[in-house]
């Protein structure tokens, strides 16, 4: 239990750092640490597949992509950032904590035991046999992403 609380606190702190940090590299690293902690939490809660994906994709691959993008981007003059985020974010955060404290407890008391549901089973079974339609959707998401990249980074033909 104490581990859970420590991991969750770390997750919240590093997520806030990722939002509030002015240095993009620090933001990216904070996000990676946050998702690493989340990955560990997934492992502790007996969700190894979620943990593996969280750590390899979010903490690993996406951080590498962020770093690469930051390294490849030139700084062209300072852009003044709006200061409102610094005021609005803490307000939202406090509001969220309050909702969490007052509402979630009521919700969680009613959470039934999951295993009686029809959609549970071994990971592979669920993914390939029960949620096949999701794979079609995932495929479509990836395709849409590829076409988006092709469209946005296209070279314009001379006659266009």
């Amino acid at each position: 239990m104490i581990w859970h609380i420590l991991l969750l606190s770390g997750l919240v702190i590093f997520s806030i750092l990722a939002i509030l940090s002015k240095d993009l590299i620090k933001s990216a690293i904070s996000l990676a640490v946050a998702s690493l902690l989340l990955g560990i939490l997934f492992f502790q809660m007996q969700a190894p597949y979620a943990g593996v994906f969280e750590i390899s994709v979010v903490a690993g691959l996406i951080t590498v992509l962020f770093m690469l993008t930051i390294a490849l981007t030139k700084t062209e003059g300072d852009v003044r950032e709006s200061r409102s985020a610094r005021i609005i974010f803490p307000l939202f955060f406090v509001a969220f904590i309050l909702i969490d404290f007052f509402v979630m407890k009521g919700l969680l008391q009613k959470v039934p035991a999951l295993p009686d549901a029809a959609e549970l089973g071994a990971f592979g079974d669920v993914l390939w046999k029960q949620r096949t339609f999701d794979l079609v959707g995932q495929l479509a998401v990836i395709l849409a992403g590829v076409f988006a990249v092709l469209a946005l980074f296209r070279k314009r033909d001379k006659d266009e």
Partner: protein, 493 residues
């Protein structure tokens, strides 16, 4: 057959970038428009036949083995499939000429087909996670399409759209997660049953709030509308037509309505919230539209206002209100599609979207001016066009439901709508032709063909409104009406 609505656009989209290497224009134009036409014909022929005995659940078989790919078709989803295919077909025809100067047509059509597959998928899925997944497919394609011109404003608008859309998706996903945590299920029917068995009033309230925020952002209802007036005008005209005509309705209104009516059940409190959100959107966006000088921006604000009518009508929750809301959805999809396409024709001919710089264009572009008038009058609610009948149904439903104040708001806002549409018509098309527009020519063949087709449909919807309501709107509204009777008042709010 019904799986073609998702499979066909996906497969052709995947092939198009390769085929585009063989033929840069002809093949992409032909294939994409053939898909739109085939799907439209399927929706109006076999689709209607399929649901003649009531809603059907279809499972995909692969080599004799049943896969866990299931879709459901009922009057509501078929109505949406038909609207999607119809407007996408008009947009596809318009794109043949219009997208010439943007280049990379194969890629453009691939994204358009992906967006269509996403919308069709969203309409056909039977579970909450499917809703989220296909919502994202359509959204990702639309981010790229908004930024398709690659200019600074377009990229900025697309980025703003992406950020606000991600917040919407996060709210929707959080609600779905909470529901899954509570019921252990994602299917519409199983979730509805599970929530009732648990008497999960607090969960339904909490998730309803998240869904209203998420789908409200997707539908651009006031106060969640900030992204739309930037995103819709920045996109190429055919994409603006799809975004305003379809996407906000499918990923906002349809998804919200399906969940509130057929999963949670429309409670009196939810009904009130939807009606007031709709009414606020109608008035605020109409007032904001009045002050615009950019033609497409004015149309974008008008979309927020008209989606307000749709939500107001559906939110009443009576059979008449739902029918009015759905009929207005169809009228607005076609008429706003037409107006955005016309704005594209004008922008391509003159190089500007600023209404103050235009004037007298009707002399040079009579077809565009004429069809524009048809679309504008329909949305403003002038008889005998379709928009008049749908607004009349909504107002009658409001009076029936003893919501007199909202009925007055709906009538007055309609006058505002007529006002700003006449402003567009007067500033752009009527009056004296400016010297600098002497050389302006009417839009090319396919662009004109698409707008004339839509204008004829808009007129047809008005003249044959009772047949349209009987064939398309009534079956759709019956599905929602049954949902209300199942759940009315069961949550105590």
């Amino acid at each position: 057959m019904i799986f073609l609505f998702i499979g066909l656009p996906l497969v052709v989209a995947a092939l198009l970038p390769l085929l585009g290497k063989l033929s840069k224009r002809f093949l992409p134009d032909l294939l994409a428009n053939a898909v739109f036409l085939v799907l439209f014909v399927l929706a109006v022929t076999s689709g209607r036949q399929m649901i003649s005995q009531g809603p059907v659940l279809k499972q995909l078989d692969w080599l004799g083995e049943a896969l866990s790919i299931q879709v459901a078709v009922d009057g509501f989803s078929l109505f949406m499939l038909m609207a999607i295919a119809l407007l996408t077909l008009a947009v596809g025809l318009f794109s043949i000429n219009y997208m010439e100067h943007y280049g990379a047509k194969a890629n453009y059509y691939a994204l358009l087909l992906m967006m269509m597959a996403g919308m069709n998928g969203l309409v056909l899925v039977t579970d909450l996670f499917g809703v989220y997944l296909f919502l994202e497919v359509a959204a990702i394609a639309s981010y790229a399409l908004v930024a398709y011109g690659l200019e600074h404003d377009e990229l900025e608008a697309s980025f703003k759209y992406l950020l606000l859309s991600v917040i919407a998706s996060a709210a929707i996903l959080l609600a779905i997660t909470v529901i899954f945590g509570m019921t252990g299920s994602l299917g519409f029917a199983a979730v509805a049953e599970g929530l009732r068995a648990l008497e999960a009033k607090a969960v339904v309230g909490f998730c309803s709030a998240l869904f209203i925020m998420g789908f409200g952002l997707k539908a651009a209802l006031v106060p969640f509308h900030a992204w739309l007036p930037d995103a819709h005008p920045s996109a190429p005209a055919p994409i603006s037509a799809i975004l305003s005509g379809l996407l906000i309705k499918v990923s906002g209104v349809y998804a919200m309505t399906r969940i509130f009516f057929n999963v949670f059940g429309l409670t009196p409190a939810l009904s009130q919230i939807l009606m007031y959100l709709g009414a606020v959107s109608i008035v605020v966006a109409a007032l904001l539209a009045l002050g615009q000088k950019d033609m497409k921006r004015m149309l974008a604000y008008s979309s927020i206002s008209q989606v307000g009518y749709v939500v107001l009508g559906i939110g009443i929750g009576t059979p008449l209100g739902i029918a009015g809301g759905l009929f207005h959805l169809l009228n607005h999809a076609l008429a706003k599609g037409l107006l955005f396409l016309n704005s594209g024709s004008v922008q391509q001919a003159t190089g500007t979207r600023n209404l103050d710089e235009m004037g007298g264009l009707a002399k040079r572009m009579p077809l565009t001016a004429g069809t524009n008038l048809v679309g504008a009058l329909s949305i403003a609610g002038v008889p005998p066009l379709g928009g008049f009948w749908s607004k009349l149904l909504i107002i009658m439903a409001l009076v029936q439901a003893k919501e007199g104040a909202l009925a007055v708001v709906a009538v007055l806002a309609s006058v505002l709508t007529l006002w700003y549409y006449l402003l567009i018509q007067r500033k752009a098309f009527f009056g004296k032709l400016d010297e600098k527009w002497k050389a302006v020519k009417e839009a090319p063949f396919w662009m004109s063909a698409a707008t004339v087709l839509l204008a004829l449909l808009v007129i047809g919807l008005g003249l044959f409104f009772s047949a349209v309501i009987k064939t398309w709107i009534q079956p759709a509204s019956d599905v929602l009406d049954q949902g209300i009777h199942l759940a009315l008042g069961s949550w105590g709010f």
